[in-house]
């Protein structure tokens, strides 16, 4: 494992780290593939869970789920460690790095010094890879950055021991073992079916296509709020969850399209290429939706019916993709 580290630029932190760690451990895998077989794609709208007073809108599964699902699907051995204090966490990390290991870390975006100040928010589940150290700090490969970065020891300690929801508690992980034979085709089939089932047939009203419907109804109710600012902040919040760094555009739908086109080659099924371009159109529709939300945020005249209509189009075209994929009987 003591070969040089090659940084690669990815769209999403968790799938990027999984892809990077696996590739360096001897099993080259793209980010989109890691995202796909990790069942990263979803939609969830949780009005009860608030982020700074706004309902939680998620286009992907909760943190750590990609890592854990990929581990299960490919039969890897991943060692996850948590610590009670920053000192032992730092010492342990130095030991691992000196042994030539590449280590995945869970951190808080707010405390990472190399993040632009405008983009620092309290999000505790940002993943990155530590691949070395120098006199002042650790050398970091942060997948969502174009080039490798650095963070001083103290700064990284703070980021690893941020408090609050998803508190990382110094969590770090390494891939210990990869099985000799991996049946990628089987993992792909399982993952696609699982994602389709979740999106189409979930019993929960706030997940999958039903969740999109719920968000649509919430948008239609926006004009009834007494504060005009609320509607604007609400729509801005949706855009941020969908387009801000780490989604690959269109709320992860474009990344999933990349996954499907890779699957077409692995499984040798041409139909998956059709599914891929269908999913690409879904991603574009989400971007159109974000654009119409942004016009409303800027204070222009807008109608919630028009925005809701755009959202309905996203929902309908997504449903077509999942039904198509189910019809393939993978």
């Amino acid at each position: 494992m003591s070969k040089a580290f090659v940084h690669s630029h990815a769209a999403h932190c968790e799938s990027g780290v999984v892809s990077s760690l696996l590739t360096h451990a001897g099993y080259p895998i793209s980010e989109a593939m890691a995202f796909g077989i990790g069942n990263g794609l979803t939609f969830a709208y949780l009005p009860i869970v608030k982020i700074d007073g706004m309902p939680l809108v998620a286009y992907r599964m909760p943190p750590k789920s990609i890592l854990k699902t990929v581990e299960k699907r490919l039969g890897l051995e991943v060692k996850i460690k948590k610590y009670s204090n920053p000192q032992s966490a730092r010492e342990d990390l130095i030991k691992m790095v000196d042994a030539g290991k590449f280590v995945g870390l869970q951190t808080s975006v707010f405390y990472l010094p190399y993040f632009p100040p405008e983009m620092r928010f309290h999000f505790n589940a940002h993943n990155l890879v530590v691949y070395g150290k120098n006199d002042t700090g650790f050398l970091i490969s942060d997948p969502v950055f174009e080039h490798p970065v650095e963070a001083e020891f103290n700064a990284l300690d703070k980021a690893r021991f941020a408090r609050g929801v998803f508190a990382p508690k110094g969590a770090c992980y390494t891939i210990e073992k990869i099985p000799e034979r991996i049946d990628l085709a089987k993992a792909i089939k399982k993952a696609i079916n699982r994602t389709c089932n979740m999106m189409l047939y979930t019993p929960f009203p706030w997940v999958g296509l039903r969740g999109i419907g719920m968000m649509k109804r919430a948008i239609l109710k926006l004009p009834t709020y007494p504060h005009k600012r609320y509607a604007s902040l609400y729509l801005g919040h949706i855009i941020r969850m969908q387009e801000e760094i780490g989604t690959g555009g269109g709320g992860f739908r474009l990344m999933y399209a990349a996954f499907l086109s890779e699957c077409a080659e692995v499984l040798g099924r041409e139909e998956l290429k059709t599914a891929s371009s269908m999913m690409g159109e879904v991603g574009d529709k989400w971007r159109v939706f974000a654009l119409s939300c942004s016009k409303a945020c800027k204070g222009n005249e807008y109608s919630v019916e028009e925005i809701a209509q755009k959202l309905q189009e996203c929902r309908d075209s997504e449903e077509r993709v999942y039904r198509f994929l189910k019809g393939l009987k993978l």
């Binding site: 630029h9 928010f121 309290h122 902040l233 474009l254 399209a257 290429k273 891929s276 945020c297």
Partner: protein, 134 residues
């Protein structure tokens, strides 16, 4: 989205950095494309930042009028809401709302003050006397 349709709005908050987007490359395959940002995303992020700054200025005004404790100023300056601060401190939201009152805040135990200092990464002197926001 085709590769040449990937937004290149050179948004200021990336500070010259670029992010990875997936777009259709030449042979109809999706590949990672570098984007210098999308103005839609920029608008949404800056809106969130502005909202915190607005709340911070308001909290500072109330603090200087003696209606609010300095806790509110630091909370919004560190981009937290009452809910976030409650999760970070393990105080109930209603206790934080109490701590926002000047009289209650003055009587807080050194232990609680130390916890707030730790969360905001400041000294006690700074906690009691926040500088005016820009």
């Amino acid at each position: 989205m085709k590769r040449d349709e990937a937004p290149q709005d050179n948004i200021a908050m990336y500070h010259g950095g670029r992010k990875a987007l997936y777009a259709v490359a030449d042979e109809g395959k999706f590949e990672i494309t570098q984007s210098s940002g999308w103005s839609v995303e920029e608008m949404a992020t800056l809106q969130a930042v502005d909202e915190f700054e607005r709340l911070e200025r308001e909290a500072y005004r109330e603090f200087s009028e003696g209606k609010n404790s300095p806790l509110g100023v630091w909370m919004y300056r560190r981009r937290m809401s009452i809910a976030t601060l409650s999760q970070c401190s393990d105080f109930w939201q209603w206790s934080i709302k109490r701590h926002l009152k000047p009289d209650v805040f003055k009587r807080l135990s050194p232990k609680k003050i130390a916890l707030y200092c730790d969360i905001f990464d400041i000294t006690a002197a700074e906690l009691f006397n926040p500088k005016e926001p820009k």
